[in-house]
């Protein structure tokens, strides 16, 4: 099972992505998609110019960026959640532990009331995601304790601070336009995704995930405790900072793309641990694939289930919470 899990999951992701490309409010017959693919590949003339531009619009400008977004967000949150769980030796940790999501939320809200440019909003989101983690790390440093506990406490303090700051921004926001926009954005949804943003963020997200995955063996050792990791020859400080930086980067970028998508980073690592075991060298890539599949499916549900779209973040929470209860029942055995 363990050996073939990753190729199987990769195939599953490709299949789900292709099906997602086909699914949509505007029904595109499968024959048309195939003809379109044929035209793209070899330049056949089965489709009229009008049809071609329509399909280009629907598939490439609307559906594909959204599919990419779901894949990257699901994978990033799952990978950073898994990495944090190993780093903090605690399977109940989620990517927001050090305050990155609170900071990014604040940054997004602040950007929305101060600037009309969406790019500025995105920059502010990323900036404050990093700022929040910076605050957490600094608090841990002030007490000159390099312990994990101080870092966690720093994260709690930083998260609380940026959550309060977000409330201030909401309170100061114009209640007729800005406030609903902020609230809606923080619910987490992928309907506003655009191709240009996706092109911009996909490279850093992919690289971040790859480097985290390559640190799987080191994370295994880190999860045995700091002193053991050091005695196994690991530069604990450097690995810890690398993991925190990359997890912060990819988590903040998920907020840049789609707001707050909750619960993925907590439940997917659990599910994957049940599937492939706790070895981070396998677990991290498995989490990336399963997280991507999960968010793709959830996003399809949220855009197709009703005549109106439900924010994806709400659906992930609604599915995530009861699922987590089920998972806990089994999971406590594997990590206690």
């Amino acid at each position: 099972m363990k050996r073939i899990a990753l190729p199987l999951l990769a195939l599953l992701l490709i299949a789900v992505a292709l099906v997602s490309l086909y699914l949509g409010k505007y029904r595109v017959p499968l024959a048309d998609i195939l003809a379109f693919a044929g035209w793209k590949a070899s330049g056949g003339a089965a489709l009229s110019a009008e049809q071609r531009s329509l399909l280009t619009n629907i598939l490439f400008d609307i559906r594909l960026p959204r599919i990419m977004a779901a894949i990257l967000i699901g994978a990033s949150l799952s990978v950073s959640g898994t990495a944090f769980q190993a780093l903090f030796i605690n399977p109940l940790v989620s990517p927001g532990l050090l305050g990155v999501l609170a900071g990014a939320s604040f940054g997004a809200a602040l950007g929305m009331i101060l600037s009309k440019s969406w790019l500025m909003v995105q920059c502010s989101t990323l900036l404050f995601g990093f700022a929040a983690v910076g605050v957490a790390v600094s608090i841990a440093r002030i007490f000159r304790a390099h312990s994990i506990i101080m870092l966690v406490l720093g994260g709690i303090i930083s998260g609380a601070f940026f959550t309060a700051s977000l409330s201030i921004v909401k309170y100061a926001a114009d209640p007729s336009n800005q406030l609903p926009a902020i609230v809606y954005w923080l619910m987490g949804n992928l309907s506003a995704v655009d191709g240009r943003t996706m092109l911009l963020v996909s490279l850093p997200m992919l690289l971040g995930m790859i480097v985290l995955i390559l640190n799987g063996g080191r994370l295994n050792a880190m999860s045995m405790g700091e002193e053991e990791a050091k005695s196994l020859g690991i530069n604990v400080g450097r690995v810890r900072m690398t993991v925190v930086f990359l997890a912060t980067l990819i988590s903040a970028l998920t907020v840049v793309i789609g707001g707050i998508i909750g619960w993925v980073g907590l439940i997917i690592p659990h599910i994957c641990r049940m599937l492939v075991g706790p070895d981070n060298r396998v677990l991290l890539p498995a989490a990336a694939l399963v997280g991507a599949v999960y968010l793709l499916v959830v996003d399809n549900v949220s855009r197709l289930l009703f005549s109106f779209e439900i924010p994806t973040g709400i659906v992930t929470s609604l599915i995530g919470i009861p699922f987590f209860v089920l998972v806990l029942k089994n999971a406590h055995r594997s990590w206690r």
Binding site: A221, E227, K230, L232, G233, G277
Partner: protein
């Protein structure tokens, strides 16, 4: 000057509380050294200093005549292995995965475990009769088996110095004796062991040399028969203990029995 590890006037304090006072010790290649001392005598601190996990506030630690701190972490990991107290971790890695972690120091950033690493890990497990357990979760095996797993990891690390913190802590009597027997077996192959213990009997069973630590200073240092005596045990633990030799076994067969039990 040919000691494997040498501490020179090493002092260490935790938050202003002095734990070690100018400790100067030599450790030779192939020695089995037991560190005895009451709680808070600085045993574990000394181990962590020998491992390079703690930096002495003053004094020096040399490993093969070079400053310990001048070694990069992974170079040190190939030479000195740490076998911590039995612990239970959050994640259920298999025994084989835990032992494979011993190969960490042999890898650069991008490389993964090779077939050779797996062979070495398998050999280490075979040496301690752990092969039947290799696919079991580390969290689900017994304390003695966990300790053996950590020792197998230290073997896989390729180290020739094993630093063990109370290796029998939390084990039942049978597992304690089996573990000490295994340690003795490994010691005969020329590996160096430095371990802490709370049991003078265990030091008598395993050690070539015993170091008694009291309040961060060396009280006695020498062969077990000379160091573990009624007088030193009284000084160390404030309790009257007879050290008796079993007739017919010269030197080795010694046991400690507290006076109140006689």
């Amino acid at each position: 000057m040919n000691a494997l590890i040498q501490t020179l006037a090493v002092s260490f304090a935790y938050h202003g509380r002095k734990v070690l006072h100018e400790v100067t010790l030599d450790f030779q290649q192939g020695e089995v050294v037991s560190l005895l001392g009451p709680n808070g005598s600085g045993k574990t601190t000394l181990l962590k200093i020998l491992l390079g996990l703690l930096k002495p506030d003053s004094g020096f630690v040399h490993f093969e005549n070079r400053l310990l701190q001048s070694y990069p972490r992974n170079a040190l990991a190939k030479r000195i292995a740490y076998v911590p107290q039995v612990h239970r971790e959050a994640f259920a890695y298999t025994v084989a995965d835990v032992v494979l972690m011993g190969r960490m120091p042999y890898h650069g950033f991008f490389s993964t475990y090779s077939a050779q690493d797996r062979e070495i890990a398998t050999a280490a497990m075979a040496r301690l009769n752990l092969l039947d357990l290799q696919d079991r979760a580390y969290t689900e095996i017994s304390g003695g088996e966990r300790q053996l797993t950590l020792i197998a990891r230290a073997i896989a690390q390729g180290a020739n110095v094993f630093i063990m913190d109370e290796p029998v802590n939390g084990l039942d009597y049978g597992n304690q004796m089996r573990l000490l027997r295994d340690v003795n077996g490994l010691a005969k192959e020329g590996l160096t062991f430095i371990m802490t213990t709370h049991f003078p009997d265990h030091a008598l069973m395993t050690a070539d040399r015993v170091i008694l630590l009291k309040e961060g200073a060396v009280l006695a240092d020498g062969c077990p028969e000379a160091t573990i005596t009624r007088e030193t045990l009284r000084a160390l633990y404030r309790i009257d203990v007879h050290v008796a030799a079993i007739p017919g076994y010269n030197g080795n067969g010694r046991v400690c029995v507290p006076a109140w039990a006689l």
